[in-house]
Amino acid sequence: MGSTFDVHRRDLIKRAAAAGLIAVPAVGALTSCASGGGEGNQVDKGEKSKDNPLAVNGTAALEVYIFDGGFGTQYAKDAAKTYEQRFPEAKVSVKSTQKIQSVLQPRFNGGTPPDLIDNSGAEQMDMGVLVGQKQLADLSPLLDAPSIDDASVTVRDTLRPGIVEMGQYDGEQCYVLNYAYTVYGVWYSQTNLDKVGEEYPKTWDDMLKVCAKAKKKGVAGWTYPGKYPYYLPFSLYPFMAKIGGDEVLKKIDNLEPDAWKQPAVKAALEAYYELHKKGYILQGTPGLTHIQSQTAWNEGEALFIPNGSWVENETAKTTPDDFEMRVAPPSSLDSGDKMPFETTWASGGEPFIVPAKAKNPTGGMEQMRVLLGKKATQNFVKQVSSLTALDGGTDGLDLPPGLNSAIGVLDAAGDNIVNPRIPNWYVSLHKDKIGTGCLGEMMAGRMTPAECMKKAQQFTDEAREDDSVKHYTR
């Protein structure tokens, strides 16, 4: 063997190795979901009757995909049994995953999506894009169908305020039906507040007083998920609306050029910034996850946390028995506010969709009709202690303290419910840019309210001018 051959062989292997190593980066991964065509292969409709107003084909299979998150999947499986009883010949399968996007995106691309999807969780598919790409079925037939409990009322009329509007993107068609109903606001423990010897503060001056008193006892006023600062708007947005009216949020949603320069925005941000300046925020908060901050709150290290009504179910394991969880609307700024103290943010969660290219879209809608019935609703409320889109539906149920107080907040609010759309319409603007980039930085003390407003406006302007983002107005 001459050494020449040796060198050549080594060179060859070296080159092959280099090429192989270079091949590692992420680019290739994306194409695994390469696109393919889909043919219209929907099942025939069934016979329309009083019991079957949507004309479901009773022999067609039904495939439901549920996000397996804070609410679990049992409620959907239970509701599927009702469907099976009504259509014994139908083969119903309820599947679940935490990775909605990974599992379902290829099926959308391939034109074979399931019939009903709970599009939720960290891997939620972008609803605005799905609508824009005409991938979703219009749910109007479902909304106009009679409710499953009372044939004289349509499904539309049984829903809580804002549910239908949240499913509308352009015009009257409704593409998304949020099943859960979330009350956002300031969450606290009545027990821990009693220990400080104070009531829940209804104005910002009182809020600062309570925090000062708590600080003397070694308890922080506030904590929030510093790693995910987009929890802050849960109480900050309705606070802005209170100060300057719903118009303030409307301008933010519509990405207007002066949205973040409004006086109400300035007042709200300055009020929150004071919490940081006066040292009322739990030490280390900017580095905590939602779980870590909620646990600190459960342990009584901080009094208040901005959150949504899922928090009761999510923290169930660490909540002390005598915690007496409560939610309240954010404090008013002062008597000059445009909206009353009771004003709060409440809106739908767990968005259900029926793909336009599903095999059995009518079946998907029918299953949704079952879910929106009293029986399935009460089952959901009992299992996961959250409200549903069905108005009422909790009568006669024994509810946990947090959920009970959430219902109280809703009743007190009446029509004064605000529903900012930016979290659904512009996910990355809301979460990454304004949430993490502006609000989180300000609350950590690295940005003044003035800088925060300027930066948030800059991000808003960029989003408005970006053609690749679909724009909505309300």
Binding site: R10, V27, C33, G226, Q283, G284, G287, G437, A444
Partner: protein, 307 residues
């Protein structure tokens, strides 16, 4: 002898090459193609948009943030990791005081160290990132508890919540979990260097310093070079993505302080539903990686020593 050599080699390579072309090269070409479209990733329809995505990328401050962090990872991580791994491997294999019988030996307990160093490699990167997330917890994490223990309780940094520290915290985790692998790799390389060479050096009275730079490093050069490329790709690609995604604020924050190119690809594709634009950033990542590998191979080329 030379005659028919390539045909002989090619004969063996046909099947692997075909698989490689189909599953590696073809998706690459496809994704480069997608970077010229407006594909959302959520529907099969898309149209051709030319260079629009590339134009957008050049004006995207997020992209530049991510690129600068990835380049910082690329510049620092391989140097620090491989430098430290070489030091440890040398101490384990050669650095010990002369003991009876053996001309070269490692420091006392070197075989135990080898296992200890390698241990992080056994854990999946996701687990490592999760563990360090607890370590860095500003309220009751091990790090701040330790600071309090030594009387530095008043200085309790937010670690991952502080834009000045977060990137270094992430970098340290990558260093921590990869250095052991290179210790073992270099140890293997060093143990194949003939003892006679070391004996000769010892007879000439060479110090440990000279021994390392004149004997060990030159004879280990090929291994170091492969390690360098491997580490660079880890720092650009999957490992960096995992730690940033799991550990940091946002993720990618605070205020974009820790975002890296693969994270940018991921979020653009899967939370912003702009798959085509994501492939564009992916192409940029590919170019950075290729350039890096080319530079290292070019600079590292030197006469191979035979022994």
């Amino acid at each position: 002898m030379q005659h028919g050599k390539y045909r002989f080699i090619a004969g063996f390579l046909v099947v692997p090459l075909a698989i490689y072309l189909m599953f590696v090269v073809w998706p690459f070409i496809q994704s480069i193609y997608y970077s010229f479209t407006d594909w959302t990733g959520l529907s099969p329809e898309f149209s051709f948009v030319g260079l629009a995505n590339y134009q957008k990328m050049l004006g995207d401050s997020d992209f530049w943030d991510a690129l600068s962090h990835s380049l910082l990872f690329l510049a620092l991580l391989p140097v620090i990791t491989i430098g430290f791994a070489l030091f440890l491997a040398f101490m384990i294999n050669v650095g010990g005081r002369k003991r009876k019988g053996a001309a070269v030996s490692g420091v006392r307990g070197s075989s135990t160290y080898k296992i200890v160093y390698f241990f992080p490699q056994v854990l999946s990167i996701a687990i490592v990132a999760l563990l360090f997330q607890f370590v860095y917890n500003p309220r009751n994490g091990a790090l701040n508890a330790g600071l309090e223990g030594v009387g530095l309780g008043s200085w309790k940094p937010n670690w991952l919540g502080d834009p000045d520290l977060a990137l270094w915290c992430v970098m340290f985790v990558l260093f921590w979990c990869t250095v052991g692998f290179f210790v073992v790799l270099f140890s293997a390389g060093m143990s194949s260097i003939p003892n006679d060479i070391y004996e000769a050096a010892l007879l000439d009275g060479a110090s440990r310093f000279t021994t390392f730079f004149r004997i060990t490093l030159p004879l280990l050069w090929d291994t170091v070079q492969s390690g360098w490329i491997y580490m660079g790709i880890l720092a650009l690609g999957p490992e960096a993505f995992a730690v940033v995604q799991i550990m940091t604020v946002g993720p990618g924050g605070p205020a974009n302080a820790t975002t890296v190119l693969p994270l940018e690809v991921y979020t653009t594709a899967f939370s912003d539903a702009q798959a085509a634009y994501a492939t564009t950033i992916g192409v940029a990542l590919l170019i950075v990686t290729l350039t890096f590998a080319a530079i290292v191979l070019k600079l590292g080329r030197r006469e191979r020593l035979e022994y």
